[in-house]
């Protein structure tokens, strides 16, 4: 479904991605793990068009998207949950969700999806009139994921959904990620520092270091891999 072919991405003169290639098939949960500054977020930014790669190619369903603008990429069906949640702080929960459906015209469908979201996260239904900024960290993350889902994406990009959340909340978020994948067949690309949890949820994983992919395998294989365990799982 999504294919990265040897992409090189730069911030000014600094090369953040050095020939990254990866592939995600439809219906999969794929995770990208690695240490701070490995280039995980940059990979996501390259995909969604915020920091386009200087060379290499990104293909979504066979179409080259490396030159497209961010809003065109969203319109293709790639939705992103940005790092640090980035919900709209002064808009209510309901309005945040509504913003997620910005590109959609089917009022009825949007209404139904809001119901679905409220079923998925009952706490959001309770707080629908509350301003987004007054929610707790975990609730904000739920809202950020929900908002991305409101676009009815075929592919969901998640950037560090566990960032700054309590372990119990993180667990709940990951359960939901798995549920979204199973129920809607939404392909998920998950960027995480919490390698242990990410690998438990994902089907496949890529390991990144210094802007390069150094390893890729099935998630359960990576979990038992000696090097990965030592470097990222702390066991």
């Amino acid at each position: 479904m999504l294919e990265l072919l040897d992409i090189n991405t730069f911030y000014g003169n600094i090369q953040a991605l050095k020939g990254v290639s990866l592939e995600i098939a439809e219906g999969e949960i794929v995770t990208l793990i690695g240490a701070n500054g490995a280039g995980k977020t940059t990979t996501l930014m390259s995909i969604c068009g915020a920091v386009p790669p200087r060379s290499g190619e990104i293909k979504f369903e066979g179409r080259a998207i490396s030159d497209m603008r961010p809003n065109e990429i969203v319109a293709l069906g790639i939705s992103q949950v940005p790092e640090g949640r980035r919900i709209f702080p002064y808009l209510s929960v309901a309005e945040n969700l509504d913003m997620g459906a910005f590109l959609r015209d089917d009022r009825e469908g949007v209404k139904k999806d809001v119901e679905y979201i409220y079923g998925l996260f009952p706490i959001l239904a309770e707080r629908r009139h509350q301003a987004g900024g007054t929610l707790s960290g975990g609730e904000q993350q739920m809202l950020a994921i929900s908002r991305a889902l409101m676009a009815r994406p075929r592919m969901l990009l998640l950037d560090e959904p566990s960032l700054g959340l309590a372990p119990l909340v993180v667990k709940r978020i990951f359960e939901i990620i798995r549920k979204i994948n199973a129920e809607n067949k939404t392909t998920i690309f998950l960027v995480e520092q919490n390698a242990n949890l990410a690998l438990k949820v994902a089907h496949r994983g890529y390991v990144m270091e210094n802007g390069r992919i150094i390893m890729s395998d099935r998630a359960d294989q990576l979990l038992t891999n000696e090097d990965v365990r030592k470097a990222y799982l702390g066991i």
Binding site: V81, Y90, M99
Partner: protein, 410 residues
């Protein structure tokens, strides 16, 4: 409470004020006789005044904090007084009728001078609503907004001088030119935000003014353009009184149209895009909103209203020169928006009326006029930081299929 600590605090405040005002209030140099007059009794007055006022100040702050706490404790959110009155039919209809009668009767009841002041205020309503799109809705701080006002005014004046273009032709042309200039300014600032954006727009405003001031062949320089015709009405010959009344009603019409259009824009898709842009630029992009187009449209549409306001301004004063378009004008328009309440249409209207009418009617206080004006501005921002009528946004009614729609105030 008059505790010892409170008194001590006030004492320090009054000492500080006595020290601060010492050079201007106490010393008076007579340059002719070369003597210095010491007016100590004034210092005593300042000290006493500051002492008393500091108590009032603290009392008001306390009341405000208490109010905030009460609002936090109360579970149901309180809709502020004015929107609540607006949504109540019993008050709304008579209120609306009274306003209409007042608006229609105004030029016939009051003097020519009063009507002229009102026209100025109405121009600021229109221009303020335009800036409200840029600052209040899209959250882009624009300090050079007066440039578009100048574009409108000069496009009418110059087209009239060179080609004899009439007011009615110039109105759409001025609006269109301002629109173009809005896009022109929009492009270089697409990547900027916050302080940087403010500085660049400030520069843009000054550039326009300096060009007008120095390019004599084009704009007649500082001497300006005189004898700009007032708007005509089917070729009728109007007396000064009549034409002023006519411009008044023209401005009322323009203001109503502006209110209508801005309201529609606010609820439209592009209005939502502006709000998303204001709230969080990164997230806005992640929603699939075209950031470039959203920013440009905010600048261009905001500028359009300034252009129209400028055309009317030129027609009303019949004389323009670059001194009408200084940074001070930009600041006043920005004050109209911020003081009135960012994003709120009614707020901007009230803000414009207060900011333009107040200095006029404070003329009785002559030299203290600007001082009182300044004090009112400071007080407003301390006690009502959201503006006179803060924006109570509509909540979208996505209550879901199963639940009954809760009744929420708009």
């Amino acid at each position: 409470m008059m505790t010892l600590q409170e008194i001590k605090k006030s004492l320090f405040t009054s000492l500080w004020f006595m020290f601060l005002t010492f050079p201007i209030m106490v010393i008076k140099v007579n340059t002719i006789e070369k003597t210095i007059e010491w007016r100590w009794e004034r210092m005593a007055a300042v000290g006493l005044g500051a002492f008393v006022l500091s108590f009032v100040w603290r009392y008001l702050i306390q009341r405000k904090e208490a109010g905030k706490k009460r609002a936090e404790v109360g579970s149901e959110d309180k809709v502020p007084l004015i929107p609540r009155l607006m949504s109540d039919r019993r008050f709304y209809m008579p209120g609306l009728m009274a306003t209409i009668v007042m608006v229609v009767a105004f030029p016939f009841v009051f003097s020519l001078y009063q009507t002229n002041v009102m026209i100025t205020a109405l121009i600021y309503v229109v221009v303020g609503l335009g800036l409200n799109i840029v600052v209040g809705l899209a959250g882009l701080l624009d300090l050079g907004y007066v440039a578009f006002y100048a574009v409108g005014a000069y496009s009418y004046a110059l087209l009239n001088v060179h080609y004899g273009v009439t007011f009615w032709m110039a109105l759409p042309i001025g609006a269109a030119l301002a629109f173009l200039f809005g896009i022109l300014l929009g492009f270089p600032v697409l990547r900027l935000r916050g302080d940087y954006l403010a500085i660049v727009t400030l520069g843009f405003g000054e550039i326009i003014r300096l060009v007008l001031e120095n390019w004599n062949e084009f704009s007649f320089g500082p001497s300006g353009i005189a004898n700009i015709p007032k708007p005509g009405l089917f070729g009728l010959d109007l007396s000064l009184q009549q034409s002023t009344t006519f411009i008044y009603f023209l401005m009322i019409g323009l203001a109503l149209m502006t209110i209508f259009v801005v309201r529609r824009l606010q609820d439209s898709r592009i209005g939502r895009a502006w709000i998303a842009l204001r709230e969080d630029e990164v997230a806005c992009q992640a929603m699939g909103i075209d950031k470039t187009r959203t920013k440009l449209s905010a600048f261009a549409l905001g500028a359009t209203w300034a252009g129209m306001g400028g055309v009317v301004f030129a027609a009303k004063t019949t004389f323009i020169n670059p001194t009408s378009f200084t940074i001070w004008e930009s600041i006043i328009i920005l004050c109209v928006v911020v003081l009135g309440g960012m994003g709120s249409i009614l707020g901007v209207i009230v803000g414009a009326l207060i900011l333009i009418l107040l200095p006029e009617y404070l003329r009785a206080f002559s030299e203290f006029r600007m001082l009182i004006f300044g004090v009112i501005l400071v007080m407003m921002m301390v006690f009502r930081p959201g503006g006179i009528i803060s924006d109570v946004r509509r909540t979208y009614k996505f209550e879901g299929l199963g639940n009954k729609a809760e009744n929420r105030g708009e």
